[in-house]
């Protein structure tokens, strides 16, 4: 059951296949109650993450983005998360300049066995994003709004 039932936000989670995705699964198997705002995108490694994934997610109307991978030194590809750490840390400087609250983006490390930790990460991140509320959009709307708007027009025609 959703912790924030009825007022969900759009949170995107980029999860590494080897640790955090399995960690989230462990949390599921352990039947830990957790908020359901997060939509998970499974990646081969956090090193796969292009910081532009996160920028694009925000531009397309995400309210928060969470990146989670293997703990440093536990990477399946030895060094993927080390590169990711530098890139994501640099991205943290760009988001507030663009007008995205830095609290809407976090990255962390959760291993496959840490179901409990996954739950606390998701819960506190979701709470943090809910405290900030929905992401303010452009005055001219998000692309989702634009699509819906086009759909309405087509229906009228």
């Amino acid at each position: 059951m959703s912790v924030n039932e009825g007022k969900e936000l759009r949170i995107i989670g980029f999860l590494c296949n080897w640790c955090s995705y399995a960690g989230a699964d462990t949390a599921g198997v352990g039947r830990f109650a957790q908020p359901t705002d997060l939509r998970i995108v499974r990646l081969p490694c956090t090193g796969r993450i292009n910081p532009l994934f996160i920028v694009r997610a925000f531009m397309n109307g995400a309210d928060g983005v969470l990146v989670s991978g293997c703990h440093p030194r536990d990477c399946h590809y030895s060094e993927g998360n080390f590169y990711a750490r530098r890139r994501l840390e640099v991205l943290k400087a760009l988001l507030p300049v663009l007008g995205v609250d830095p609290g809407r983006f976090e990255y962390t490390w959760v291993s496959a066995s840490e179901g409990q930790r996954w739950r606390s990460v998701v819960t506190s991140f979701t709470e943090q994003v809910h405290a900030l509320g929905p992401m303010p959009g452009f005055k001219s709307g998000t692309s989702l709004d634009m699509c819906l708007c086009h759909m309405d027009q087509n229906q009228v025609l």
Binding site: M59, R86, V90, L91, L94, L98, T108, S124, S140, S143
Partner: protein
């Protein structure tokens, strides 16, 4: 500056026989900004100009001329771009001859035109101390540096070309600007997050997607393989929605993160005068804090996003 131009000309004259080409500046159609001059013949050397109107960064031409012996005239900031290209092995040190200069500041054609009322008839520009002197149709005019210099000159980290083969003239300090206008980054810091987003939306509404910022950037070397034009993945769509334009700026800023030397070409080339260097300045500031790294200072260093440390000294990860 009169003597350094003669020294520059004689240095180029001496080096030209061993080179395929030397890139310098010459007076162009716009009286407030000089255009590049590609010297292959000794007779062209007389056309060289060197004063605060030489604002264009000539380093951008070097990657396209790889394989040829090229000489290039460089101010402090231009030389940092060249160092960055050397670091990334986009050009070869033995093929490039750098004629380094001390720069007293480069005028921003757009703001100067506004401050002078018109750019018509500007014959001479010189910077001395904290004032810029103009000769406009035989009449002398002065402006404080804060009203005429480019944004990048206000945060200049070194006016001398540090890595060069021939240093011409005397070493000196960056331009001594007394009062300068607030930078866009400082203005943004005073705003709320939502105001910042709307600030960029308003700015990007003016963007005409000409990609001059990309074309002028000496570090944008992907040419026809630019992520902004790729269909797979489709990073930006074809609409003129400000969101897509801002997305392009985010691509440019993140692709030059840790490499950008803040030469200001993106902003200088922008026909709409958009403050796009702000994004790069913000990233550079964070990179300086995190990795204690400044792009374009040491040809033997690797840019920080090309490598990593197992223990990052300055990265404070969040504890959950």
């Amino acid at each position: 500056m009169a003597s350094s131009i003669d020294d520059l000309k004689s240095a180029i004259k001496e080096a030209l026989p061993d080179l395929d080409m030397v890139i310098a500046w010459t007076a162009g159609p716009d009286p407030l900004s000089h255009t590049p001059l590609f010297i292959t013949d000794e007779a062209d050397i007389e056309r060289i100009a060197w004063d605060p109107r030489c604002s264009q960064n000539l380093a951008g031409y070097l990657t396209g001329l790889r394989g040829k012996k090229v000489g290039v005239v460089a101010k402090g900031c231009d030389a940092r771009s060249i160092v960055e290209l050397l670091q990334e092995k986009l050009i070869d040190r033995e093929d490039v001859t750098i004629f380094g200069l001390h720069c007293t500041g480069a005028v921003d054609a757009r703001t100067t035109r506004k401050a002078l009322g018109s750019s018509r008839g500007v014959e001479d520009v010189a910077i001395d101390g904290a004032t810029a002197r103009f000769t406009v149709a035989g009449e002398a005019k002065t402006l404080p540096l804060g009203e005429t210099l480019q944004q990048k000159c206000f945060t200049c980290t070194g006016a001398d070309a540090e890595v060069c083969d021939h240093f011409i003239g005397e070493h000196g300090l960056p331009p001594q600007v007394g009062e300068r206008p607030a930078s866009t980054l400082e203005e943004l810091e005073a705003m709320s997050m939502e105001e910042r987003l709307h600030f960029w939306e308003d700015q990007m509404t003016r963007c005409i997607r000409c990609y001059a910022c990309r074309s002028a950037c000496p570090l944008c070397v992907c040419q026809d393989h630019c992520a902004a034009q790729s269909r797979e993945p489709h990073w930006v769509d074809q609409t003129d929605h400000p969101r897509e334009k801002l997305m392009f700026q985010a691509i440019h800023a993140l692709h030059t993160a840790g490499r950008c030397t803040e030469c200001g070409e993106c902003e200088r080339a922008c026909p709409m005068g958009l403050p796009i260097m702000t994004l790069k300045q913000a990233l550079n500031r964070s990179i300086q804090d995190l990795f204690d790294y400044r792009a374009g200072t040491d040809p033997d260093q690797a840019p920080p996003l090309f490598e990593f440390r197992e223990e990052e000294k300055n990265i404070k990860e969040r504890e959950w």
